[in-house]
C-alpha cells in the first residue's frame, strides 16, 4: 500500500475526473438526445431548440468544470 499522501491525491484525481466526465456526459447526452428528438418532431423550431440546447449544455458543462478544477488541484498538489 502506498503511504505517500500524494499517491492518494493522484488516485483521487484520476477517479474524480472519470466520475465527473461520466456525470457530465450523461447530462449532455440526455440533453442532446431530447433536443434531437425535438428537432425531428418540429423541424421549424430547430433554431430555438438549438439555442436552448447550447445554453443548457453550457450550464451542465460549467458544473462539470467545477468538479474538474477540484481534480486538477488534487493532481498538481505538491
Amino acid at each position: 500500500m502506498p503511504t505517500d499522501p500524494k499517491a492518494f491525491a493522484y488516485f483521487a484525481a484520476g477517479i474524480g475526473a472519470g466520475l465527473t466526465i461520466m456525470g457530465g456526459a450523461a447530462g449532455i447526452g440526455r440533453l442532446a438526445a431530447a433536443a434531437m428528438e425535438g428537432i425531428a418532431r418540429q423541424p421549424n423550431a430547430a433554431g430555438d431548440i438549438r439555442g436552448a440546447m447550447i445554453l443548457s449544455a453550457a450550464l451542465i458543462e460549467g458544473v462539470t468544470f467545477f468538479a474538474l478544477i477540484v481534480t486538477i488541484l488534487l493532481a498538481i498538489k505538491t
Partner: protein, 309 residues
C-alpha cells in the same frame, strides 16, 4: 442602420481596454523554471523540456500558468510587471481594436467589403439573436457591451492557439474581471429601470407567503453572486482545459520514450494526431465560449430587466 452598426462595432472595439481587469496581481515567480526558460512555451517542444529535471506536472503547469517576463514593475503591493498573460491580454485587445477599425474602413458607400463582411455578420448576429432576443427592445443599449465580450473572448482564445502564445482568458484574474463587468451590467440593468430599492425587491417574486421569505432571500442573494461566478469559472476552465489536454497529449511522447524507444516512436504520430484533433476542437470551443458568455450575460441582464418572467 448601417451607421448604427458602425458605431456599435466601434464601441465594441473600444470597450475591452476600458474594462481592463488587471490580471497581474495573481502572479508570483515560481522557481527556477520561470527564470531559466521564459520562452520555451511552444506547443511543439515538450520533449526538450522533459529531459531536464522537471516532472510532467511541472511542465504542464509551466505551460498553462502565468509568469513574469523578465522585469517586474511593482507599485505598492501590486505586481504590474509584464507577464505572459498580461502581454497577450493587451495584444488581444489591440487585435480587436485593429480588426474593428479595419472593418469600419472597409465600408464602401455603406456596403462592407472584405473583413467588414465577417465582422458585420457577427455584430448583427449578436445584436439580433443574442441581445434583442433575450433583453428585449432595449437590447440595443447593451449590444456594445455584449459585442466587446464576444470579440474579446473569441480573439483571446484564438490567439492562444498560435505557437509561442498563451490564452489570457485562461487566467482566472482575467475572467474575474470579465465576470465583474458582467455582474455590474446585470445590476445596472435592473437599477436603471426600476430604481435601487425596487430592483432588489424584484428579486423576490411578488405574492410569496411571508414564511418563505427567510429561505428565498438568502437563496436569491446567493444566486445573484453565483451567476457571474459560474461565468468566471466556466470560461477559465474551458480555456485552461484545452491547453492542458494538448500539452498532456504531447507529453505522452517523452513519457513513453522513458520506457523505451520502441514505445516512444509509435507514440509520435498518435500524439500529434490527437493533439491536432484537440486543437481543431479548441477553435470550435473559442466560438462556443464567446457565444455562451455573451448569451448568458444577456440572459442575466434580461432577467434583471424583466423580473416578471
Amino acid at each position: 442602420m448601417i451607421a448604427a452598426l458602425v458605431l456599435t462595432a466601434a464601441l465594441a472595439g473600444q470597450a475591452p481596454p476600458a474594462h481592463e481587469p488587471t490580471p497581474a496581481p495573481a502572479v508570483e515567480p515560481h522557481g527556477e523554471a520561470a527564470a531559466t526558460e521564459p520562452a520555451a512555451a511552444g506547443h511543439e517542444a515538450p520533449g526538450h523540456e522533459s529531459e531536464e529535471h522537471e516532472g510532467p506536472a511541472a511542465i504542464l503547469m509551466h505551460h498553462v500558468t502565468d509568469r513574469p517576463l523578465g522585469y517586474d514593475f511593482v507599485v505598492g503591493p501590486l505586481h504590474l510587471g509584464p507577464t505572459r498573460h498580461l502581454i497577450f491580454f493587451l495584444l488581444a485587445s489591440a487585435v480587436v481594436l485593429i480588426l474593428v477599425r479595419l472593418a469600419i474602413r472597409s465600408y464602401r458607400e455603406g456596403i462592407p467589403t472584405g473583413i467588414g463582411t465577417a465582422v458585420e455578420t457577427l455584430v448583427v448576429y449578436v445584436r439580433d439573436e443574442i441581445a434583442e432576443k433575450n433583453i428585449g427592445h432595449d437590447g440595443a443599449k447593451y449590444t456594445p457591451l455584449l459585442l466587446s465580450f464576444f470579440f474579446f473572448i473569441l480573439i483571446a482564445a484564438l490567439m492562444g492557439l498560435l505557437p509561442f502564445s498563451s490564452t489570457s482568458t485562461g487566467n482566472i484574474s482575467v475572467t474575474l474581471g470579465l465576470a465583474v463587468v458582467s455582474f455590474l451590467a446585470m445590476q445596472f440593468a435592473g437599477i436603471s429601470k426600476y430604481g435601487f430599492i425596487h430592483h432588489y425587491k424584484n428579486m423576490v417574486p411578488a405574492g410569496l407567503p411571508a414564511w418563505l421569505l427567510p429561505i428565498i432571500i438568502p437563496v436569491e442573494i446567493l444566486g445573484m453572486f453565483s451567476k457571474p461566478f459560474a461565468l468566471m469559472i466556466r470560461l477559465f476552465a474551458n480555456m485552461l482545459a484545452g491547453h492542458m489536454v494538448i500539452t498532456t497529449l504531447l507529453l505522452l511522447i517523452p513519457l513513453m520514450s522513458a520506457i523505451g524507444l520502441l514505445f516512444g516512436l509509435p507514440m509520435i504520430p498518435i500524439s500529434l494526431v490527437l493533439a491536432l484533433f484537440i486543437m481543431i476542437l479548441e477553435i470550435l470551443v473559442a466560438f462556443i465560449q464567446a457565444y455562451v458568455f455573451t448569451l448568458l450575460t444577456s440572459i442575466f441582464i434580461g432577467m434583471s430587466a424583466h423580473p416578471a418572467h
